[in-house]
C-alpha cells in the first residue's frame, strides 16, 4: 500500500516533465549526513550532560539506529560501509605512523612490554574461549586474534578528544600500534587455521593469509612510496602535504576494497612504511586535518549499528564479560610486570587501563572472517563481538579516565576544546 504522500509525488511525476520519480533508496550522502549529525548530537549530549566520552554517544546513536530500532538495516549498512572504511583506514594510517621504531631502539623495554601485554592477552583469551566457552582451537584463536589488541580508533580519538600529551598518552599510542601489528599478524595466521579447520583445503589455508598479508603490505608500501614521491615534488606548505597524505590514503582504501584485502591492514601498513621510509621527512609532520576526524563519528555510529545486541542472552553476556575481564587483567599485568622503572608504577597502571578499549577494528576483523564462512562464523564469533559490543561503551571511558588521572588531558582552562 502506497502512502498518500507517495501517491501525490507519483502523480506529480506523471504530470510534470522535470519532476523526478519517487526515491526508493536513500542516497549514500544523505545517509552519511544523517549518521554524522545523529552521532554528533548523541555524543555531544552525553559529553555535556554526563561527562561521558563523546565516542560512547556515537556508538549509542548507532546502536539505537541499528539493532535497537532497525532503522539502519543491512542494506543501509552496506551503503555506509565505504565511509566507515575510509574513517577506519585513516585512523589505522595514523596508528601505523605511531609505530615508532626509533623509540623502540632507544627503549627496547617498550617492545618487551608490548610483547608481554599482547602475548598475555592472546593466551588468556584463547584459554578462556577454549576452556570456559568451549570453542574449537581455530575459533578460539580467531577470538583471541580479534580481541587481543587495543582499539586504535578509540585510543587515538580519546587522546585527540582530551588533547592529551605525556608519557601515558605516548605509551598508550605506541602499545596500541604494536598491539595492532601483532594482532594483524596473528589474524592472518588464524585465517589459515580457520580454513584448515573448516574445509581442510590447504591451498586456501595458505593462499588466503598470503593474499591478505601480501596484498595489504604491497598496497601499503606502494601507496606510501607514491605519497612520498608526490610530496617530494610538492612545494606547498602543511596544507599541500596533508592533501597528498589524505588523497593517497583514499587511493589505498579504494584499491584495498577492489582487491578484497582488509582496508585496516593496508592502511596500517601504509602508516608503518611512511614512518620508516620517510627519510627526508617529507610527510613526517603532516597531520590529518581536524575536520577529517568527523569521519570517525560515522565509523563509531556504523560500528554501533553492527553490534549483535539482539543476540544477547544471560549466558553470552556472561561469556563476553569473562573475556573482557581476563583480557583486561592480562593487559594490565603485562604492562605493569614488564614496565621496569621507566615510569612510576601508578602511571604504568594507567597505561594498562588506557589500552583496554576494544572496538571497531575487532568488529571489522570479525566481518572479514565471517565473510569467508558466514554459515558458522555468526555463532563462533559471537563471543568476541559481544565483548567488543560491551567494551564499546566502557572502553572510551577507561581511556578517558586514564588520560585524566595521569594529568595529561587538557583541562578547560588550558585552552581550545575539540
Amino acid at each position: 500500500m502506497t502512502s498518500p504522500f507517495r501517491s501525490v509525488w507519483e502523480s506529480l511525476h506523471e504530470r510534470l516533465y522535470f519532476f523526478p520519480p519517487f526515491p526508493t533508496e536513500v542516497d549514500p550522502l544523505v545517509l552519511f549526513a544523517l549518521l554524522l549529525v545523529g552521532g554528533l548530537v548523541a555524543g555531544e549530549v552525553l559529553y555535556r550532560a554526563g561527562g561521558l566520552s563523546r565516542i560512547v554517544g556515537y556508538v549509542l546513536a548507532g546502536a539505537l539506529a541499528g539493532p535497537l530500532t532497525g532503522w539502519l538495516d543491512r542494506e543501509s549498512l552496506i551503503l555506509a560501509k565505504p565511509f566507515a572504511d575510509v574513517a577506519l583506514g585513516l585512523l589505522l594510517l595514523e596508528t601505523g605512523r605511531h609505530l615508532d621504531l626509533a623509540w623502540l631502539r632507544a627503549n627496547p623495554r617498550l617492545l618487551l612490554t608490548s610483547l608481554a601485554e599482547s602475548g598475555l592477552a592472546f593466551a588468556a583469551i584463547y584459554a578462556f574461549a577454549r576452556l570456559a566457552v568451549g570453542l574449537s582451537p581455530g575459533w578460539s584463536a580467531a577470538a583471541a586474534a580479534i580481541t587481543m589488541a587495543s582499539a586504535p580508533a578509540v585510543v587515538l580519538m580519546g587522546a585527540q578528544e582530551s588533547r592529551a600529551q605525556g608519557q601515558v598518552t605516548q605509551r598508550m599510542l605506541l602499545l596500541t600500534a604494536l598491539g595492532c601489528a601483532a594482532s594483524f599478524v596473528v589474524f592472518t595466521v588464524v585465517l589459515g587455521v580457520v580454513h584448515a579447520e573448516r574445509s581442510g583445503d590447504w591451498i586456501d589455508a595458505l593462499a588466503h593469509p598470503l593474499w591478505v598479508a601480501g596484498g595489504s603490505c604491497l598496497i601499503g608500501a606502494l601507496c606510501a612510496r607514491l605519497a612520498l614521491v608526490v610530496a617530494a615534488r610538492q612545494h606547498g606548505g602543511p596544507a599541500a602535504r596533508m592533501f597528498v597524505l589524505v588523497a593517497v590514503a583514499l587511493l589505498a582504501v579504494g584499491i584495498a576494497r577492489m582487491l578484497a584485502v582488509p582496508v585496516f591492514l593496508s592502511l596500517f601498513m601504509m602508516g608503518v612504511v611512511l614512518n620508516v621510509g620517510d627519510r627526508d621527512r617529507r610527510l613526517a609532520y603532516a597531520s590529518l586535518p581536524d575536520g577529517l576526524w568527523m569521519l570517525a563519528i560515522v565509523l563509531f555510529v556504523v560500528t554501533g549499528a553492527m553490534l549483535p545486541l539482539g543476540d544477547m542472552t544471560l549466558e553470552t553476556v556472561l561469556q563476553g564479560l569473562g573475556l573482557i575481564l581476563v583480557r583486561g587483567a592480562a593487559k594490565l599485568l603485562g604492562v605493569v610486570l614488564s614496565g621496569g622503572r621507566d615510569l612510576p608504577v601508578g602511571k604504568q597502571v594507567l597505561v594498562g587501563v588506557g589500552i583496554q578499549p576494544l572496538s571497531a577494528t575487532a568488529i571489522f576483523m570479525a566481518a572479514e572472517i565471517s565473510a569467508v564462512y558466514p554459515e558458522v562464523s555468526a555463532a563462533a564469533l559471537l563471543l568476541p563481538l559481544l565483548a567488543a559490543a560491551m567494551m564499546e561503551f566502557v572502553g572510551p571511558q577507561l581511556c578517558r579516565y586514564a588520560l585524566q588521572r595521569a594529568g595529561e588531558a587538557e583541562t578547560q582552562e588550558s585552552g581550545r576544546q575539540p
Binding site: 615508532d100 626509533a102 605525556g166 608519557q167 605516548q170 612510576p344 588550558s414 585552552g415
Partner: protein, 382 residues
C-alpha cells in the same frame, strides 16, 4: 611574609661560578614542546654527580644547575655531564631537549604549570603570563665575598647587560614568525611587573631597606619575586646574571660563564665608576637595542652623552679582558666569544640560516636538538 633576617649574605669563594640552564622538552614525533618534565624526573636514575636537574614553571621545561665551581672547564664538564644524562634519559621517553631562548612555534595555552607550591603561586599571581613564561634562559652566578660587593657588582654588570644579550641571543622566532629580534625571549620577561634593573642602592644595608619596603607594601615576598636582569643571590653568596638566552650548545653556555667571570674580575679589580641612576635612564633602551639588533645595536652612553655601536665596543671589551682570562684559565673561551662578536654570527644567525634552508619550523627544532645532543669538548671519560 619572609623574615629579613633570612637575607643575610652568605660569603662564597670570590669569582666562583654556577650556571643554570632552562632547556626545552620537545616531542621527537613533531618537535613541538611536550609536557613531560614531572614524568622524566620521576623515572630518572641519576646520582647528582654533575649538579641538579629540576622542574621549571611549565611541564615543557627542565632546568639543570651545575655545581659551584672555580673554573669554567669544570662548569663545562658539569653542563656536558648533565646534557648527556638528560639526552639519554629523554631519548628513552621519546623526548628530545634543546637550547634556544624560545620554541619557534609552540602554542602557549597548551602549556601545563608544573606541580609545586611555588609554581601554583606564580600561576595564581601572574595568570596567563606564567604560561607565556615558557621561555628558556641561562643564569650565571658569580661568587662574591660580601653583600656590599654583591650590590656594587650588580650595578657594574648592569651596564653590560646588552653585551650578554647579544652574545647569547638565540630566540628570533616566536609563534612560527621571525620576530626581527635576535632575542625575543626577554619580551616575555619584560611583561612581569618586577622585571628590570636593580634599584639605585649603595650597599647591602640599602638593599635590605629596599627589600623591607617592597615587603611592607606587599610588592614582593622574597628576592625570588624580583626578575631583575642582574640581582644578588644572598643564600648562594653570588650575583646572578639573568639576561642570557639559553644557548644552543654547552660550549657557548660555558663561554658565557667565562665572560661573566672575567668581566666580574675585571670590574672588581678596576672598580670603574658606576652610576646606577644615570644608567637606569637608558637601561631599557639599551636592552631593547641588544634584543632587537644584537651585534648591530647602537647603545646609549649617558655619561659621555653619545651613541656607541655594540659591534665595536664588545670586541674591544673582550680584548680588554684578556689578562683576566689568562689569570682565570679561560682565554680559549673568550677568544671564541670574540670571534662570534667580530663575525656577528651568534646562535640567532645560525637559527635563521637553518630556518631559511628548512621547509618548516619542525626541522629547525630538530636541527637544534641534534646540535644540543652532540657531546661538547668538555666531555669527561670515554
Amino acid at each position: 611574609m619572609s623574615d629579613l633576617g633570612g637575607l643575610s649574605f652568605t660569603r662564597s669563594r670570590p669569582l666562583s661560578l654556577g650556571v643554570e640552564l632552562e632547556l626545552q622538552l620537545v616531542s621527537l614525533r613533531d618537535y613541538d614542546l611536550t609536557r613531560g618534565a614531572t614524568d622524566l624526573l620521576a623515572g630518572l636514575r641519576y646520582d647528582g654527580s654533575f649538579g641538579e636537574i629540576k622542574l621549571e614553571i611549565t611541564e615543557s621545561m627542565i632546568e639543570v644547575n651545575s655545581r659551584p665551581r672555580d673554573d669554567v672547564g669544570a662548569i663545562g664538564a658539569d653542563l656536558d655531564g648533565l646534557r648527556a644524562v638528560l639526552v639519554d634519559h629523554c631519548r628513552r621517553n621519546n623526548i628530545a631537549i634543546c637550547g634556544g631562548g624560545t620554541h619557534p612555534y609552540h602554542h602557549w595555552p597548551e602549556r601545563r604549570i608544573s606541580p609545586g607550591e611555588r609554581f601554583a603561586y606564580l600561576n595564581e599571581r601572574y595568570g596567563y603570563l606564567s604560561k607565556q613564561f615558557t621561555v628558556f634562559g641561562q643564569h650565571i652566578h658569580i661568587g662574591v665575598t660580601s653583600g656590599d660587593d654583591a650590590i656594587w657588582l650588580t650595578h657594574a654588570l648592569n651596564r653590560h647587560v646588552p653585551h650578554f644579550i647579544a652574545l647569547s641571543a638565540s630566540s628570533p622566532f616566536v609563534d612560527a614568525t621571525d620576530t626581527g629580534f635576535v632575542s625575543a625571549r626577554l619580551n616575555a620577561v619584560s611583561a612581569f611587573p618586577l622585571s628590570g634593573q636593580a634599584p639605585d642602592v649603595a650597599d647591602w644595608a640599602g638593599f635590605l631597606d629596599h627589600m623591607a619596603l617592597l615587603q611592607s607594601c606587599g610588592v614582593a615576598e622574597s628576592i625570588k619575586d624580583l626578575y631583575w636582569d642582574v640581582r644578588p643571590k644572598p643564600e648562594y653568596g653570588t650575583v646572578e646574571v639573568r639576561v642570557c638566552d639559553t644557548p644552543l650548545t654547552v660550549e657557548r653556555a660555558t663561554e658565557l660563564a667565562a665572560f661573566a667571570q672575567c668581566l666580574s674580575r675585571y670590574l672588581l679589580r678596576e672598580r670603574p665608576p658606576v652610576m646606577p641612576a644615570m644608567q637606569a635612564l637608558v637601561a631599557r633602551y639599551n636592552k631593547f637595542q641588544a634584543c632587537r639588533f644584537g651585534f648591530d645595536a647602537q647603545l646609549a652612553d649617558p655619561l659621555r652623552r653619545c651613541t656607541e655601536p655594540l659591534g665595536e665596543s664588545l670586541p674591544a671589551l673582550l680584548a680588554c679582558l684578556a689578562d683576566d682570562a689568562d689569570a682565570l684559565g679561560c682565554r680559549l673561551q673568550l677568544e671564541r666569544l670574540r670571534n662570534v662578536a667580530e663575525s656577528r654570527q651568534g646562535d640567532s644567525s645560525w637559527l635563521r640560516a637553518i630556518a631559511a634552508g628548512s621547509e618548516n619550523f619542525h626541522e629547525l627544532t630538530r636541527a637544534a636538538t641534534e646540535r644540543f645532543a652532540e657531546p661538547s669538548g668538555y666531555r669527561q671519560g670515554p
